[in-house]
Symmetry: C2
Subunit: 215 residues, 2 copies
DNA sequence: CGCTGAATGGAGTAAGCGGTCCATTAACTC
DNA sequence: GAGTTAATGGACCGCTTACTCCATTCAGCG
């Protein structure tokens, strides 16, 4: 629920915490809408209602601000999927989650794509630290999916030859690709197709006989 | 094999064509490595060995150059998958294509992701025309996959309740998401998991009884 | 109350950016 | 081979950018 880092900065007053929060929130919104490179610090200053020097008081440079944005964005995206994300341990739950994600995209006009994925794509080749932060965010996301599938497996609902780890990674891939295609095509068709295919595949890996105990 | 546009520009001499090609090729390489925003026109000029004014002689502005880069990148990515991409009409062909894509990513150290997807992600919210060009590129890609699956369907190898169009879109989604995760994680595990899951799903939709004609 | 350090405002800077202009040279046409 | 047009080189411009500095104000604490 929180990955906020201790930046080893001088201790902040309540007011300072609030200002820092306003800056990073404003930056996160702008960077989601226009991308990191398309967001100047002046834009952030105006949106947050602070003076230029504030940003450098709370963040060493733009790169540090970007990393803070990755942290709050990751938390926001994962939190937005709760409580569904923590309980993906049945086909019904998976389908409900799928519907939620699709509706969320439709609700924002299919624009923006995945906030985490977009940050990752833009920063992966230019900022090693940012890339690793995004990777950690995806790891948390994948772990939640994994946990649900593992519970199904442990309960004996998934066939023994199914690999919950592989399936979780594949589901995350289908989700991310679906979100990217949704953003570019401006419709949710590909997202639905990708997730439905994955969910159908998982359904096909569920045990058919309800009681395979005795011979 | 070619989407190169007629820019309604003044007619080019042989030398002019070559220079234009050098510029767009250099721009495509740099933008793949550093992103569009991270590539200045000065970088392109140096890499292509031309003077500043050349870029504006052949392209009206940076946006026009970007669109030309999208065109050549799309062609390059699709061509690189030939002849496999045009013959995805069997499970063996699909698996061979999967292996090729995975090996390609591994060969470049899992860096860069999908050149088309990266361009799309960076430009989708800031350049409508670019977004549509990328969408058209994805449409070509998806169509190739669709054609192969449709051939399988028409031959009766795919079950009647399988939808080649949906499956093609889902496969493209799994591929793109897998490529994004590969780029960010710096390993091909997620790409393999995503594509394997989709291919297993397609395999499960293949008819089991070879001759379902009589009652 | 008075000290210390954090919070703030705003002017300022140096570099890099996309883009322009124009004079010169090379390539095609008749 | 003369004339037209494309190709080229490079100086140049205005703007935006990330970032700095310093003086001032405010919050917390004994």
């Amino acid at each position: 629920m929180s990955t906020e880092e201790a930046t080893a900065a001088p201790r902040l007053t309540r007011k300072g915490m609030a200002t820092r929060g306003r800056i990073v929130t404003a930056a996160a919104e702008l960077m989601f809408e226009r991308g990191v490179a398309g967001t100047s610090l002046e834009d952030v200053q105006k949106a947050a209602g602070v003076s230029p020097s504030q940003v450098y008081h709370y963040f060493g440079d733009k790169g540090a601000l970007v990393r803070a944005v990755i942290a709050v964005t990751t938390d926001a995206v994962l939190d937005a999927q709760e409580p569904l994300l923590s309980r993906l341990d049945s086909l019904e739950a998976l389908r409900a989650w799928r519907d939620f994600v699709v509706a969320l995209q439709a609700g924002r006009g299919c624009a923006g794509g995945c906030p985490i994925g977009s940050l990752g794509s833009e920063l992966a080749e230019t900022d090693q630290a940012a890339r690793e932060d995004v990777a950690a965010g995806f790891a948390r996301w994948g772990q939640s999916i994994h946990d649900g599938l593992q519970a199904m497996y442990d309960r004996g609902e998934l066939r023994r030859d199914a690999d919950p780890g592989q399936l979780a990674l594949a589901t995350l891939a289908a989700l991310q690709g679906g979100l990217l295609l949704t953003q570019i095509r401006r419709d949710t068709v590909a997202l639905e197709a990708g997730l439905d295919a994955m969910l159908d595949h998982i359904a096909a890996l569920c045990v058919t006989a309800p009681e395979p105990t005795g011979p």
